[in-house]
Amino acid sequence: MDQNNSLPPYAQGLASPQGAMTPGIPIFSPMMPYGTGLTPQPIQNTNSLSILEEQQRQQQQQQQQQQQQQQQQQQAAVAAVQQSTSQQATQGPSGQTPQLFHSQTLTTAPLPGTTPLYPSPMTPMTPITPATPASESSGIVPQLQNIVSTVNLGCKLDLKTIALRARNAEYNPKRFAAVIMRIREPRTTALIFSSGKMVCTGAKSEEQSRLAARKYARVVQKLGFPAKFLDFKIQNMVGSCDVKFPIRLEGLVLTHQQFSSYEPELFPGLIYRMIKPRIVLLIFVSGKVVLTGAKVRAEIYEAFENIYPILKGFRKTT
């Protein structure tokens, strides 16, 4: 299926297997062993979207209870599948693919006897939220633009020595108590403090950020300090993408006012604070979206997959 190929390699494992009747919403491939003891536990879904759907879902719970019980016995794989609106990229045994989805499963009600969530090839797909039609994954992958990370070099540093001997360094203690150093590959900037702690910004991927931080640590080491590389941690990731259609921000702020803030006189973008995953999205009239606040790449992707159907609902038609 084409939609699978458009996904990045690590997401393809989640894409619907060939020939599945699902409309392409990501489910776990049958390769994933089900029932490994990591069966998703019911977690009250605080996703903004699910709050809206809770009401609709509960209406249909009774109807589908028995049907789902039979289905669960038949199905070998699959933890849960999202509803038609595909807001929840649910996860199965998270231990299998730890890097893909960090967030605990977003299943709405996986226990038997509660509402559903995956289709069986035998029965037709029953939309849980009849209001919104079934939609496929967006096929758009947000691109990472900036990664901020920190690392502890593990020793006190003499900033003046570093500033005098290293290349491409600035040190103005009256203005800021750190050396600002830059390297060209990967193109990044580091703030190096006298405590030995360092902040590395500007990288476009997690691996580049780590590599850059190592390069800075090597520079410091070559200057004679006993630098180590302790507690490297990515603190923030920023991604951006384009949905390719204009968006009615006013409409979006009216229906999602718990999560949105839109002050066009202050800032032209709508600030959407998604609860799960905890990501802040800046949504612009042009259709460009900026996602920030992620600790892992998967949160960015998940947040975008969550917001995409909502944005489609607020597409400008003129």
Partner: protein, 106 residues
């Protein structure tokens, strides 16, 4: 107190060499030589600030930069110095720059 920045220029170095010769031949004391250099600092700073009016543009690619103790040090490559009258091309140039506005310290 003026910047001692200009002691390492063609003019400043010639002065320093001449003073060293005079000290060698015992014609002046080292203390006097120091005073001469301090006077040179004042004079060159004043002259560049007051008596020089022409403007030179330059453009090149930045190799390295440094900012420490309020002194910028740049190394540029493939630089073109452009004055109205003439153009000079250089492979490598090192620029040491001190703050023009504020009071200095040697």
């Amino acid at each position: 107190m003026a910047y001692q920045l200009y002691r390492n220029t063609t003019l400043g170095n010639s002065l320093q060499e001449s003073l060293d010769e005079l000290i060698q031949s015992q014609q002046i004391t080292p203390q006097l030589a120091l005073q001469v250099l301090l006077q040179f600092d004042k004079a060159i700073n004043a002259a560049l600030a007051q008596r020089v009016r022409n403007r030179v543009n330059f453009r090149g690619s930045l190799n390295t930069y440094r900012f420490c103790d309020n002194v910028w040090t740049f190394v540029l490559n493939d630089v073109e110095f452009r004055e109205v009258t003439e153009l000079i091309k250089v492979d490598k140039v090192k620029i040491v720059a001190c703050d023009g506005k504020s009071k200095c310290l040697p």
